[in-house]
């Protein structure tokens, strides 16, 4: 402990300075609006027990990292989310990224694929291949992964309501490549709760959706044991406007609900908990973000050990992917986005992420061009190889500020989780519009802060200047949609329709009962049933969910 307290310093040394020149803001805040102090000192960490609050890396409560040596052993996985137009174009982009040294694939699907409409459905009008690759049947997946051996890559698929179908296609494809599904590595997002809260690509009502998710947990536990069966995502919650504490809280509350659902479905917590993964956003509030990641690890470890009584240390670990924040990228002076992304990526790495996507500078305009996505990947490589940030574990651990913020974020998140517990669970809270309203409120406040210039956005509300236009934006060839529909028609013509109908009928029976849906879905996709056909069966059995509108 220092010889004088922080307050004594304030009353003497600081006081004199403040008399001469006041601070440039009345208040300094973190994203939740909580005020932060001018200085953090040993007083702020008084009474904190190192073992209990931090521990060593690779040990409970994992505040300092889930692996003992973190990036000294293996760097984080550099995983750029990509996918556009048709399977052929996307395949080219994947192979390009792998050649450039990317270490994992991350598949973006178009919206019809995500919401269970075939490319020839009326709802797919104008959407085919727009925000990701269009997949109608296994035939598209075969093209998507051409010359990419599935046992040599780990593949993350941003897919939720239709996750069982896409996963089934991936398994079917592996079998065709002669690969044992037990060898497959990857992740499906499969997080329906945050779809209701923020992202919007749900199809079915919550209860049957939760069943599909626990069916996947069960199935993969036996058949695809290395697969990460869910990526519980705060990213979209944050992008929709939440604060850091809300992002953490709503994500972990969703996590609690999934764990409880799996336990209720008869699974042993230690049989699936190690396959749960998380996905967070990284903002430019560097220290707050690092604190969020550290607080998240500590909070989840406690939840899993104390609340769910998991016995295996692996079940206690919060493993997560991070993406830099798309919402902060500006159309104005777009080259500034490279710098924003760099700082956000730094926050993710200092926070101990397992994998990272860095956004491209042209994302306020379009799906990234090859040039822009290369700069984004180079940003990560630069951090990894040209700086020293990966050389010691949890480099900001022990910082008075970061430890204090870690405590603050944990406490604020915990308060929200308690509130959600009193509402029932995350699902009940969503049905009542609670997280949606909280997020909207934060989003509104941020917007007002930007408009009043309380929050400065360089190049937008301050330091505005003319800027050169970005060139080489990706444009879509309208032929893609036509080609996709033709391909679909061809598959429908060439497949054995009796096998398809039999598989769909079987799925309907299974879905109506309680048996695991995954084997029946696998059978459907192997017969080249379309995503729309499989979803139509499930829509008939489960019904469709309307928006939980909280406005």
């Amino acid at each position: 402990m220092p010889s004088r307290s922080k307050q004594e310093w304030r009353d003497t040394t600081l006081e004199k300075t403040l008399k001469r020149s006041p601070e440039r803001q009345e208040r300094f805040e973190i994203s939740s609006g909580t005020e932060i102090d001018d200085l953090y000192a040993p007083d702020d960490l008084e009474g904190i027990d190192y073992d209990e609050a931090l521990g060593y890396p690779g040990e409970y409560p994992f505040t300092r990292g889930i692996q003992p040596n973190m990036y000294r052993g293996r760097l984080w996985t550099m995983r750029q989310y990509a996918g556009f137009a048709d399977a052929e174009e996307s395949n080219k982009r994947y192979r390009y990224l792998l050649e450039q040294g990317q270490t994992g694939l991350s598949i973006a699907f178009d919206l019809p694929t995500q919401i269970g409409y075939d490319s020839d459905h009326e709802m797919a009008r104008g959407e085919i291949g727009k925000v990701g690759v269009a997949i109608d049947t296994l035939a598209d997946m075969e093209v998507l992964f051409e010359d990419i051996p599935l046992d040599k890559v780990s593949t993350s698929m941003t897919i939720n309501a239709t996750a069982p179908i896409l996963l089934a296609m991936y398994i079917a494809l592996a079998k065709k490549q002669g690969i044992d599904p037990k060898e497959l590595n990857g992740t499906i997002q499969n997080d329906i709760l945050k779809e209701y809260i923020a992202r919007g690509t749900y199809i079915f009502p919550p209860r049957p959706s939760m069943r599909l998710i626990t069916d996947i947990f069960k199935y993969c536990g036996e058949e695809v044991p290395r697969w990460n069966t869910i990526s519980i995502s705060g990213y979209h919650i944050r992008e929709a406007g939440s604060t850091a504490a809300q992002e953490l809280a709503f994500t972990l509350a969703n996590g609690i609900t999934y764990v409880q659902a799996a336990i209720d479905a008869g699974l042993d917590v230690d049989d699936f908990a190690a396959r749960l993964s998380f996905f967070f956003a990284a903002y430019g509030n560097l220290f707050e973000e690092v604190a969020k990641f550290r607080a998240g690890r500590r909070l989840w470890a406690k939840i899993m050990r104390e609340r769910f009584e998991a016995k295996e240390p692996r079940s206690w670990m919060l493993r997560f992917h991070t993406q830099t924040c798309g919402h902060t990228l500006t159309a104005q002076q777009p080259t500034n986005n490279v710098i924003r992304t760099t700082i956000q990526a730094l926050a993710a790495v200092l926070g101990g992420t397992q994998s990272l996507h860095t956004n491209s500078y042209d994302e306020a305009y379009a799906t990234p061009s090859e040039e822009a996505v290369t700069v984004a990947l180079r940003t990560q490589q630069l951090l990894a190889y040209e700086t020293d940030v990966a050389n010691a574990v949890d480099p900001l651990g022990g910082s008075y500020l970061v430890e204090s913020l870690t405590n603050t974020l944990e406490e604020e998140a915990q308060n929200y989780i308690q509130k959600i517990d009193t509402l029932g669970d995350a699902l009940a809270a969503i049905e009542q519009g609670f997280p949606q309203r909280e997020i909207q409120e934060s989003s509104y406040r941020t917007q007002m802060d930007i408009e009043s210039e309380k929050k400065v956005v360089v190049g937008v509300n301050k330091f505005v200047s003319p800027y050169p236009k970005i060139t080489g934006l990706l444009r879509f060839d309208p032929q893609i949609a036509i080609k996709q529909k033709e391909g679909l028609a061809q598959v429908k013509q060439n497949r054995d329709s009796a096998t398809v109908s039999a598989a769909l009928d079987k799925l309907e029976k299974v879905a109506t009962g309680t048996e695991n849906t995954m084997p029946a879905i696998l059978e459907c996709v192997e017969a080249y049933a379309t995503i729309g056909e499989v979803c139509d069966v499930l829509r008939r059995v489960f019904g469709e969910q309307k928006e939980f509108l909280a406005f």
Binding site: L111, P112, Q114, I115, E122, M123, A124, R125, G126, E127, K130, V131, E195, A198, R199, G200, T201, E239, A240, G241, H327, T330, A331, Q332, A364, Y365, A366, T367, Q440, S443, Y444, Q447, E451, V460, K469, L473, R475, F476, K546, E547, L549, F551
Partner: protein, 134 residues
């Protein structure tokens, strides 16, 4: 006293990016307008039908999926089919610059991209309504 401007904020297309739509809806409400928010995944038919039922003067279309060049003309057609030529149409989202003239051409009165301010949106809407009324 002047009647309140009635606005439908609608999300055509399949994307779930509703941060902007909800913000704008709230901003317009704060500005004294009567705002109806449609929710996600509205087809052109649903939007036109809601515009008719709710008797709005303005429809604000928010879309970020890139489907605007197909979804907007279809919406305009649906409005026409219901005799709603007097409803002013505005749009928010991400629109490639080369699409803007075509969007204006098809009758979108104002287009709000990233960085548009509340004041700008409120003023443009009032202006669009006034123009349609004349």
């Amino acid at each position: 006293m002047e009647d309140k401007i009635r606005v439908l904020i609608a999300k055509p297309g399949l994307d779930g990016h509703d941060r902007g739509a909800k913000l704008v809806a709230r901003i317009l409400r704060d500005a004294g307008m009567e705002v109806i928010y449609s929710g996600l995944r509205q087809t052109p038919e649903m939007i036109a039908e809601a515009a008719l039922q709710e008797d709005v003067q303005v429809v604000g279309l928010s879309i970020l999926s890139g489907a605007h060049m197909e979804v907007f003309p279809a919406t305009i057609q649906q409005l026409k089919d219901r005799g709603l030529e007097n409803v002013a149409l505005v749009a928010g989202g991400i629109f490639p610059e080369e699409d803007v003239p075509a969007l204006k051409q098809m009758g979108i009165k104002a287009i709000f991209g990233p960085g548009s301010s509340s004041q700008e949106i409120v003023d443009s809407l009032k202006k669009a309504v006034a123009e349609k009324a004349n």
